[in-house]
């Protein structure tokens, strides 16, 4: 089964990547930070810090510590968070909910804005729609994410208190963050939709279809769309990946308890088991998403499927 083969190859790559990256992070933290102090706290007396150092085994050589952790992972034990004193798996499960919800609603925002805009721009190049779409893209690209978040808070949570300022406990908490996070990938997706569709519309087979008598929406829907979707699927996969691992800024501006924040906090606190597990998770997500995009594309495009 060749597809299985392919998937295996990718899995192997993912494994290698995960190992490399996680060892890199491990070394980085080993040489630069003192997790014991964070665990003990700012004002902790020295005996306490020392006790913790020994108790957690931070005094062992790096390879021993790393292999110890790795051994645990291989047995399905992702360890105990130093800082939260909880099983990492549980910690991640808890935070993942927020991030998943946020990422998918942001993706929905992106799709709802970018696709219609991109499609209408491509159908009438150089028209006002096109210009509008392009200027939207250019400006959206230039607004820093965190700043947009702050402005939205000033506007819609304080001046006009429509939405809550922060938190993640109800759907209303997700509106502004999803908007911010979604807006960040609008330019890329919109432009890609536009150029992709323009390319397709300028292609020989669309000319053939027109010569056969296709026009209007039928031309788009029945002939162009599937081809134009190919690049979009890939870019959406990448964007979703970015959102799942990279909503750091949004989560911090809106104080949401997602994976991004968890990652940041764990870094700041040298919570190595959590950092490591998160990185494994991110690598896995990335690989899975790109794999999924490849498979979807293969399903959409017989050329990829069969060569």
């Amino acid at each position: 089964m060749t597809m299985l083969n392919y998937v295996m190859r990718r899995a192997l790559l993912a494994l290698l990547v995960a190992l490399t990256v996680s060892f890199g992070t491990f070394a980085l933290f080993y040489f630069a930070t003192d997790p014991a102090q964070t665990i003990a706290g700012e004002d902790a007396p020295q005996e306490m810090v020392e006790a913790i150092r020994v108790q957690y085994g931070f005094d062992r050589p790096i390879t021993v510590q790393y292999l110890d952790w790795l051994g645990g992972v291989l047995q399905g034990d992702f360890g105990q968070s130093y800082f939260w004193k909880q099983p990492v798996v549980e910690l991640i499960r808890e935070h993942a909910k927020v991030t998943l919800l946020l990422a998918f609603s942001a993706l929905a925002v992106t799709i709802l804005i970018a696709l219609p805009l991109g499609i209408s721009a491509a159908l009438r190049p150089n028209s006002w729609v096109d210009r509008f779409a392009l200027s939207t893209a250019v400006s959206a690209q230039a607004i820093p994410n965190f700043w947009l978040g702050l402005m939205l808070i000033i506007l819609f949570a304080v001046t006009f208190p429509i939405f809550p300022v922060s938190g993640d406990s109800s759907w209303r908490h997700y509106v502004l963050p999803a908007l911010v996070l979604g807006a960040s990938s609008v330019p890329a997706v919109m432009r890609l939709t536009r150029t992709g569709l323009l390319d397709v519309m300028g292609s020989d087979y669309i000319r053939t279809a027109r010569a056969k008598g296709f026009t209007g929406y039928r031309l788009i829907v029945r002939q162009a769309l599937r081809n134009a979707l190919l690049p979009i699927v890939s870019v959406l996969a990448v964007q979703l990946g970015n959102k799942l691992g990279g909503s750091i800024v949004t989560e911090s501006v809106f104080s949401m308890n997602g994976l991004g924040r968890l990652a940041v906090e764990s870094i700041f606190n040298s919570d190595i088991p959590t950092v490591q597990s998160l990185i494994l998770l991110f690598v896995l997500t990335f690989v899975l998403l790109t794999l999924a995009a490849d498979l979807i594309n293969a399903w959409l495009d017989p050329r990829i499927r069969m060569g």
């Binding site: 000319r207 027109r210 010569a211 008598g213 039928r218 081809n227 495009d301 050329r303 990829i304 060569g307």
Partner: protein
Amino acid sequence: MSTESLLEIRDLSVTLPTDSSELRAVRGVSLDLRRGETLGIVGESGSGKSMTALALMNLLPPAARRQAAGIHFGDADLATLGEKELAGRVRGRRIGMIFQEPMTSLNPVYTIGRQLIETMTIHGGTSVAAARRRAIELLEKVGLPDPASRLKQYPHEMSGGQRQRVMIAMALMNEPELLIADEPTTALDVTIQAQILHLLSELQRELGMAMILITHDLGVVSRAADRIAVMYAGDIVETGTTEAVLSAPRHPYTQGLLECVPGYREASARRLGSIPGIVPSMTGEIRGCAFAARCPRAVPRCHQEDPPRRPVAAGQSDGAARSFVCHDPEETRGRGFAGGDTATGPAIRRGGDSVLRVDDASCTFSVRRGLFGKRKPLRALDRVSLDIRKGEVLALVGESGCGKTTLTRTIMGLQTPDAGTVTLAGRPLGEQPARQRARLIQPIFQDPYSSLNPRQTIGDLIRRPLVINRLGDAREQRARVHRMMDYVGLPSRVFNSFPDQLSGGQRQRAAIARALILDPEIVICDEPTSALDVSVQAQILNLLLDLRDELDLTYLFVTHDLSVVRHLADRVAVMYLGEIVECGPGEQVLNRPKHPYTRALLDSALSIEPALGVPAPDLAGDFPNPMNRPSGCPFHPRCPLADQRCRQRVPATETLDGTLVKCWKADTPPPSAPLDVRPDHNNKEDAAP
């Protein structure tokens, strides 16, 4: 063929906006077409042929604007019909269209079946089942075996020839009254070209369609068209019956075009005629005759006044049938084109010592197909042996993908063979340093657009070999470049220009200058003219032959154009699927071919013979995929003579009449008569009324 008029185009113009000004791609074209008739439109690249065809059904690029006094198609005026009516009633229904690029003209993500069926169902009134039956029927008709299973295939699973057949079937689904074929065979191999053209004329006759056949190949129109329209710079400069136009061209451009075709004049004329200059850019207003700048007969009036349309009424029932657009100045009548000096043609040379030997060279690539595919070996060269002798022109012919380029790359040391050796000047190539090799052997490539680095000026480009080989100081190098540019006929003002600023012909001259500046012994020309228009091709061929004489060069000339081979080759080697199947002296191979494949190639080549029709090819099928080579003789699946032995055992190389042949049947006489007494395949009894 009836005399009822089907299509009347009056004063059709197409303009396209460009960065700075407007490009007038079509300038006031008027054309008539009768039911069942085939009209050939010929002209060089960029003359506006495609734009004319697209303008008929308004399939122009979005920015283009179309104007016409009228496009009367039967009872409808296509010039005034809205997009909706055009789409609903005309496109695909009454007018079918086939495009040049079969590789990209089918939607890659849908099956052939879906694309065929929707052609009918979109216009309503037909059930899917009926459309499906029709699709199967038509696929059968266009010669695709096992049509029902073909419906499930995707375009990329088919070869170019097969796709073009699908395109034809698609265009015919609704039995259109008019079929427009825009260069339907240009991208295909000669053998396939002949098959497709033959198929088209058969179908046309059977269905009684009219057809507009657009091409730049005079050989193709001469065989396939009833009438011919010659386009130049967006206008039709001469029209008439094929026979009349080709045998007695009246417009200087038509004359020039014909002079350029190798083999149009007697084979003894080793020097081709050529039209100087290039097709003008069609931006802005053109004053006077568009051709005047390149015309040997031009007088001052030609540059100032628009030339009149002159009917040639001599004994025609239909006055519009033959005309040309020219001032036709009396005083210059009979003045021909530059290449008229037949006397200086080079003599055929033979003998000389072997300067390059290829012994049993094999070359295998490993190719992955598709995302999930495994790597598979692709054998591009299979134990090829060849030798090139001092001073000769060795032509290497074969269909696309047979390994010609791989062989030349191996010879130049750019590709290391898996097995076998290449011996250059008595030493194995592998043992020679690259620079030493470079001074013995130099290439000229097919595509003058990709063979010159767009980021270097022409001067730097030509000088580069000297720099790399550290020959002379900067001043000497520059002087040598100037001398070389002189040699190849490049004006020295282009020294500081970039390749983008040059025409195709000029670029090819620059490439030649670059190849020759190291003073090599052997020049490898990989299809050096196939990307060029005929008029430019003639210039380059002439130049190459002149240079050979002056610099005492040896050429390995790769081509698939047999008329070019006939024109200049001393010896010919024929390749098929990575093997050399026949190799021998030019006249021997071309006039008395031993291998059935050589014979088929020669049969398929279309020379300008208005009296003949498109021959029925006796070569079955397509060029096979080199990934799965047939057993035994690789040619056997397509060979009309193949028997059990051919299927099982690889033929050995043997020598017959000084020709090397690799065929079990080399001594069997051909089933059909030799080329020159070939029976008339002409199906057009009424070619010239």
